[in-house]
């Protein structure tokens, strides 16, 4: 920690150590360089802004996933929540004014997350089970409320959101800006706020946390509620991009989010992980998809490559520990 970059490089094997320690960023940069060489269109602003737009939704729920995983839990419900909340937002935007629709959607997200939080923190249910059940419930509710078909935005509010979600500010897509702001808030909270410190403590040793007088249940409850709220924000963004809310949205997103968090070096046992590395994980996953698309690789082989990268990243982290 106290070592400067220069010192790190000059120590024996220093460069290698540095690369291993920051392997997520290293993989990311390698991929960027590789992509630039392999495709002419990669570094065009159209492609880059497309890439950012594609990853923003999953990116936002990945941050929620990160804080849940930091406590040693997991949230499988976020993908389905995105679908249910996108449908909810589409319904709301057609009946109430835009700010109310946004606030209500986020509140409902918080409420749904709270259900998971309550089951895990106060009923001591295994996070995997509780959120697996909610995943099914949320997906089902999404289909019920939408009657199985997409609900389009029909109001000026909807039009505004659609413009917002598809436009850029200073060359950066607006929805990517929302994502980055959330990453920065998460970074600050995890590093400089008591909340972040305590959820990391709980994840690294729950019993020691309890015996240190930390309100373990309260924080475990909160992380799921926050994850639900972030799923709501992601839902608003993806719905606005396409001008509709569909119960088929966010299919298997929870798995991509977990992958992004894990590629970012977080431990599924809890206590280890950072927002900036999760951002890298999200971008790495997005980049792989993007470059394979540019190379016209069909989607099935893409999945194989994605899985390979996850294994590679986690193996590299094992190396880091030694």
């Amino acid at each position: 920690m106290a070592l400067t970059l220069k010192q790190q490089f000059s120590s024996p094997g220093g460069i290698l150590k540095f690369l291993i320690k920051h392997n997520t960023i290293f993989i990311f940069l390698l991929l960027v360089i590789f992509s630039a060489f392999i495709s002419d269109v990669f570094f065009t602003s159209v492609n880059l802004s497309n890439l950012l737009k594609q990853v923003s939704g999953i990116g936002i729920i990945s941050i929620g996933m990160l804080i849940v995983i930091l406590t040693g839990g997991i949230d499988l419900s976020v993908g389905s929540m995105v679908a249910l909340l996108a449908v909810t937002f589409a319904i709301l935007i057609n009946i109430v004014v835009l700010p109310v629709a946004i606030v209500l959607t986020i509140l409902i997200g918080f409420g749904l997350g709270s259900v998971a939080g309550y089951l895990v923190a106060y009923q001591k249910m295994a996070p995997f089970i509780a959120t697996l059940a909610l995943m099914t419930v949320a997906r089902g509710l999404g289909f019920i409320y939408s009657k199985g078909s997409p609900i389009t935005f029909k109001t000026p509010g909807g039009e505004f959101m659609s413009n917002f979600a598809n436009n850029s500010t200073l060359g950066v897509p607006n929805i990517a800006i929302v994502f980055f702001i959330i990453v920065i808030i998460a970074m600050v909270m995890l590093k400089y706020n008591v909340f972040g410190r305590l959820i990391i403590a709980i994840g690294s040793n729950e019993e020691a946390s309890r015996l240190s007088g930390i309100k373990v249940s309260k924080y475990k409850f909160l992380v799921y509620a926050i994850s639900g709220s972030l799923a709501a924000i992601a839902a608003i963004i993806v719905a606005s991009r396409t001008n509709l809310g569909s119960p088929n949205m966010g299919m298997a997103w929870e798995l991509d989010a977990i992958a992004a968090v894990v590629i970012g070096g977080a431990s599924l046992n809890g206590g280890k992980g950072s927002a900036i590395n999760t951002l890298m994980g999200v971008l790495i996953l997005g980049l792989i998809g993007n470059i394979l698309n540019l190379l016209n690789v069909p989607s099935y082989p893409q999945q194989v490559v994605k899985g390979g990268i996850i294994i590679f990243a986690v193996l590299l982290q094992r190396f880091e520990k030694k």
Binding site: N193, V194, A201, G271
Partner: protein, 504 residues
């Protein structure tokens, strides 16, 4: 191969073992004849269990030799040990709760050579075995539904088979009433007649004199010799168990102890543990020692006070006012701290830095209203405590997992010093800690007490507790059996109260 030449069934000679820097056994010798019941005695932490674990293959010895029937053996794991005919009944029950009695008894023999199980035969054999022991348990019952006594019987039955040569029993009778104990003894005599050698570990001295032929006493990882039971008595054994040199480890207690108790516990009874009707008080500046054997309820009492275990009845007073500690959150709110005996699992956050470990109990002085941590303040606070406790690390960012046991323990203590606790309960303050750090921790305890903090120290290390406490409570079977004022401190007195006997 049976070697009829060898006089001894088992010869362990020059056994040494250390875990990291902590030496647990030093040059220990143990010789056991055919068909002998050999008692192994010693205080908690004297190394009895480790010695038995080396014998059975759980641990590997660093140096020394183990001869079974005159042939050297080196069991690499418990399976090897069992193949050699060495069976151990551990203190902690090792049964599989969801399997039947019969399945448990033959668990270690399952899958050895047959692909298909003959459940009928297994259940039948198990039933016969249990009946032959004189107990009444259904072999097809699920272990979860058994009482603790029945479980202990199953555990013993599991260790007995036709090829058993050495049977080790570690405190087998703690849960037994006198009739069950007598049944067990009858069985042990039967086994003895079959030529099986039995190693019997117990804190109950009267049992030793009833059944054992020979007794060996371990003290601080060294054996103080063996002698036939017929040549000694309770006092002789107690003398062997104590009587070590007292090193100059302990600080001079020059604290003026206050008159009115700062902390009081009245008739505390636990909901889920054995602790019942515990009452005591601590005066400001006083170091109160709590002694007792493992399993006597000391740790459970500490956790009960701290709110980590549920209470059934009783009350707690701080500065004369009743307080409720329903959870550790409440306890910490009343400035009560607990340093757990189980440092790695309950005391510290191994993957986190020293700074994050120490700050975790109290963010109020180092954070803003919105919870943002003032890093400067945090650093100076942590560095101050590191200096005060002499925590040896390059800086506050070192992960606690990389520290020595002694320094980890200091971090666990620093956590409670950072909130100016009024009451600090320290469970086994120096377990797995080297001598240098021990001295520092003792003087730290002394200093904390000087400031008027009520300090409660739980310890199995008798010289330690006599060296630092002003008064000692001795627990036995879940409650306080006796209290020793300073002038009555002696290992013999503590030991007598620990095993539920009056002082002489």
């Amino acid at each position: 191969m049976q070697n009829s030449e060898s006089e001894y069934r088992l010869e362990m000679s020059g056994i040494s073992k250390s875990f990291g820097v902590v030496s647990v056994l030093e040059n220990v010798n143990l010789k056991i004849k055919h068909g002998e019941i050999h008692a192994l005695l010693g205080e908690n932490g004297a190394g009895k269990s480790t010695l038995m674990k080396i014998l059975s293959g759980v641990h590997q010895k660093d140096t020394g030799k183990v001869l079974l029937n005159g042939e050297e053996i080196n069991p690499k794991n418990t399976h090897d040990g069992q193949e050699l005919g060495i069976n151990v009944v551990y203190q902690e029950l090792s049964l599989v709760n969801d399997l039947s009695v019969a399945e448990n008894i033959y668990l270690h023999k399952l899958g050895a050579n047959k692909f298909w199980m003959n459940w009928k035969k297994i259940t039948h054999d198990a039933q016969e075995l249990i009946n032959s022991l004189g107990f009444d348990i259904d072999a097809s019952a699920i272990v979860r539904d058994l009482s603790i006594v029945q479980k202990q019987v199953v555990e013993i039955a599991k260790a007995i088979s036709e090829d058993t040569k050495i049977l080790v029993l570690d405190e087998p009778t703690t849960v037994f009433d006198p009739t069950d104990t007598q049944k067990l003894f009858d069985n042990l005599f039967k086994l003895k007649e079959r030529g099986i050698s039995i190693i019997y570990i117990s804190h109950h001295l009267e049992e030793i004199f009833k059944i054992a032929d020979t007794v060996t006493v371990l003290k601080d990882g060294v054996d103080t010799g063996s002698l036939p039971v017929s040549e000694t008595d309770t006092d002789g054994v107690i003398r062997l168990m104590i009587g070590r040199e007292l090193k100059d480890l302990y600080p001079i207690r020059d604290v003026v102890v206050g008159n009115t108790p700062i902390f009081e516990v009245k008739n505390l009874t636990a909901k889920d543990t054995l602790v019942y009707d515990v009452s005591f008080s601590v005066k400001p500046g006083e170091v109160l020692g709590v002694a007792g054997l493992g399993g006597s309820g000391r740790t459970e009492t500490a956790k009960l006070i701290f709110g980590a275990h549920k209470k059934k009845s009783g009350s707690i007073f701080l500065n004369g006012e009743e307080i409720k500690t329903k959870s550790p959150v409440d306890a910490v709110g009343h400035e009560i701290g607990l340093v757990s005996e189980n440092r790695k699992e309950e005391g510290v956050f191994l993957p986190l830095s020293i700074r994050k470990n120490i700050s975790v109990t109290n963010f109020d002085p180092i954070s803003t209203k919105l919870g943002f941590i003032k890093t400067d303040k945090e650093h100076s606070n942590v560095l101050g405590l590191m200096k005060k406790l002499n925590i040896k690390a390059p800086d506050s960012e070192v992960d606690v997992k990389n520290l020595s046991g002694g320094n980890q323990q200091k971090v666990a203590l620093a956590k409670w010093l950072s909130i100016d606790s009024k009451v600090i309960i320290i469970d086994e303050p120096t377990r797995g800690v080297d001598v240098g750090a021990k001295v520092e921790i003792y003087s730290l305890i002394n200093e904390v007490a000087k400031k008027g903090v009520a300090v409660i120290v739980i310890s199995s290390d008798m010289p330690e507790i006599m060296g630092i406490a002003d008064r000692i409570l001795v627990m036995h079977e879940g409650t306080i059996y006796g209290e020793l004022p300073k002038e009555k401190f002696s290992e013999e007195n503590i030991l007598r109260y620990s095993i539920g006997e009056p002082l002489k």
